[in-house]
Amino acid sequence: MTKTIVRYLLLIVVSIWTLAPVTWMVSLSFKGPTEWYAPNLIPKQPIVDNYISLFIPTNPIGGSFFFTSITEPITKPLINSLIAAGLGTLFAVLVGFLAAYGVSRYRAGGTFVIFFTLLTRMLPGATFVAPLMVFYSSIHFIDTYPGLIMLYTAVTLTYAIWLMKGFLDEIPPEWEEAALLEGASPWTVLRKITIPLTKGGLAASALFIFILNWSEFLFALVISVTQVTTLPVQISKYVSAVGRMYGTEASLGLVATIPSVTLGYLIQKHLVTGFTFGRIR
């Protein structure tokens, strides 16, 4: 009984912890500039101007005009984000899956290489910024899609390999060997046995990596100039002469969660098996 109570209390605390900022964002996004610093949760004069100004940058918010450097609607950053995060995730999952498969099944690279991939995550991203800038400008990758996509793939590849290795290790090699002895080629085995059996894990890994890429800020800020600005960078640009435009930032923040939430909802079924680490047997 006490156990149940403790469990519920914990769940309530965790729920408040995660949902409070989101609730505040929703509240903020419907508030006018006069209320941005006010502690009330329910806006006294609810407005949708914050949302309109995302698409019409010159639109007044709650009657006042804000002069910013932003001249374009969010459609371009939205598309940029979808392209960079989407393709970055796709490549990371593809390359990561094959790498993880090699490590899991054939111990490719021994124990060192798989550990070595972790090294890229052992330093703060900011450490890489300066060398990356030098390297990217010499190959003319600054402010380009290939530049951003390649970087996102490289940065999330470590997660892709380690996550998917975990899921692949759960699959006994006998299943693959049995299929092999039935006459299936190694690629067929991968397609018909391994992938169907790990699809929950693959979906969970893909979503996790997509969220990482989707919310990545530092590298996007450094690499983008005008052409490949992503949503997180766009959010940071809502600054006017009189201060940050919290309402507009909150509204764009909410809009930006839509793709991740939708994706998560669509693959919900797989996430359950994915996050419980297989348990397919």
Binding site: P172, E174, W175, E177, A178, A179, L180, L181, E182, G183, A184, S185, P186, T188, I193, P196, L197, I280, R281
Partner: protein
């Protein structure tokens, strides 16, 4: 022509030599059992035959063709894994049909083939059940069905009964034996259970430390074990093994161990010819010690009953003979109790003598 020929197989993993030098043949329709304790290299040998491991050296030939460089998917070998490896996401039908689909067999042919195979292994009424819902006995049948659906040249079974509890194992062993007869494919069966080997195999190859110690029919292995290890490993209850010293007393040769003495003059010449050692191990199976209440045979030795275990129609007697303990298997004698004195006669035709140093059989 033998179905399978394995020649001088060797497999090294890093610094560990799993298989040292293994050679054997399997004839058409024959079941050969690789028997040995865990870690003796039997499963590795099986995996090399299947093509799942690459041998360090040696040859594997199927139907007279060297298959060393043929990948597993082209060898036409069926393998039943220790835990069956039934595809959990596919139904029984699709599990059996898997290899046929890979070979792009037409749908009508495929259906007939799957149904024929399913009825052979007795799973025709659970064809729609998904793999992850199957019980162990069903899994075993499906696994066999899946591996024979392609009419393989050779069937390999890797300890198929080891995950099953003792009671079900007995039943499944019998079922497996029956199935094997019906299927009639040359089979290599790997097990560490000597009883399984004795009941299912035509011939047994006893393996130890990466080598085959002896290969022969089940009765050859049972009646004339070539080494001490085999003598000890085969048979339940296992053979009595008594450390002895060979003493010559005038014209007679006598095996002595404490107060125990056995006249073995008839073997003296054989022993002399084959070993100079005096330290020998006497081996005799429990069923080859006959017990009597009266001393009918003049060579009978006195024995005291320490414990009796009735096992069905027979009883196992734990005896104390001249300071040694030995097991004897015989008919139950209601008048015998713990502490009773009996007269034990060793059946000399079934006696084994091993050199204690080399562990090899002399007689």
């Amino acid at each position: 022509m033998p179905k399978l020929v394995v020649k001088n197989l060797r497999k090294v993993f890093g610094t560990f030599e799993a298989v040292k030098d293994v050679s054997f043949q399997v004839e058409e329709q024959e079941t050969l059992c690789l028997l040995g304790p865990s870690g003796c290299g039997k499963t590795t040998t099986l995996r090399i035959i299947a093509g799942l491991e690459v041998p360090t050296s040696g040859e594997v030939s199927l139907d007279g063709v060297l298959v060393n460089d043929v990948p597993p998917q082209k060898r036409q070998i069926g393998l039943v894994f220790q835990d069956y490896a039934i595809f959990p996401h596919l139904s029984v039908f699709e599990n059996i049909a898997y290899g046929l689909r890979v070979r792009k067999m037409s749908e009508t042919q495929l259906r007939t083939k799957v149904h024929d195979t399913a009825s052979l292994v007795g799973v025709e009424n659970i064809l729609d059940v998904p793999g992850k819902r199957l019980g162990l006995s069903e899994m075993q049948r499906v696994a066999i069905g899946r591996s024979i659906a392609l009419d393989p040249k050779l069937l390999l079974l890797d300890e198929p009964l080891s995950n099953i509890d003792a009671k079900a194992r007995e039943r499944m062993r019998a079922e497996l034996g029956k199935l094997q007869k019906e299927i009639g494919i040359a089979t290599v069966y790997v097990t560490h259970d000597q009883l399984e080997a004795m009941t299912l195999a035509d011939r047994i190859a006893v393996m130890r430390n990466g080598l085959i110690e002896q290969i022969g029919t089940t009765s050859e292995i049972y009646d004339s074990a070539r080494t001490l290890f085999i003598a000890n490993f085969i048979g339940s209850p296992s053979m009595n093994l008594i450390d002895c010293e060979l003493v010559y007393n005038e014209e007679r040769a006598i095996l002595k161990s404490g107060d125990f003495a056995l006249d073995v003059t008839e073997f003296a010449d054989t022993v002399k010819g084959r070993s100079k050692e005096k330290e020998l191990v006497l081996g005799i199976r429990p069923e080859n010690i006959s017990l009597d209440i009266e001393k009918t045979d003049p060579k009978a030795i006195e024995a005291e009953v320490q414990l009796m275990e009735p096992v069905g129609a027979k009883s196992i007697y734990h005896l104390k003979i001249g300071g040694l303990t030995a097991l004897a298997k015989g008919h139950p004698m209601p008048e015998v109790n713990v502490g009773s004195k009996l007269w034990a006669t060793f059946n000399k035709d079934k006696l084994h003598l091993f050199d204690k140093k080399t562990e090899e059989a002399i007689v």
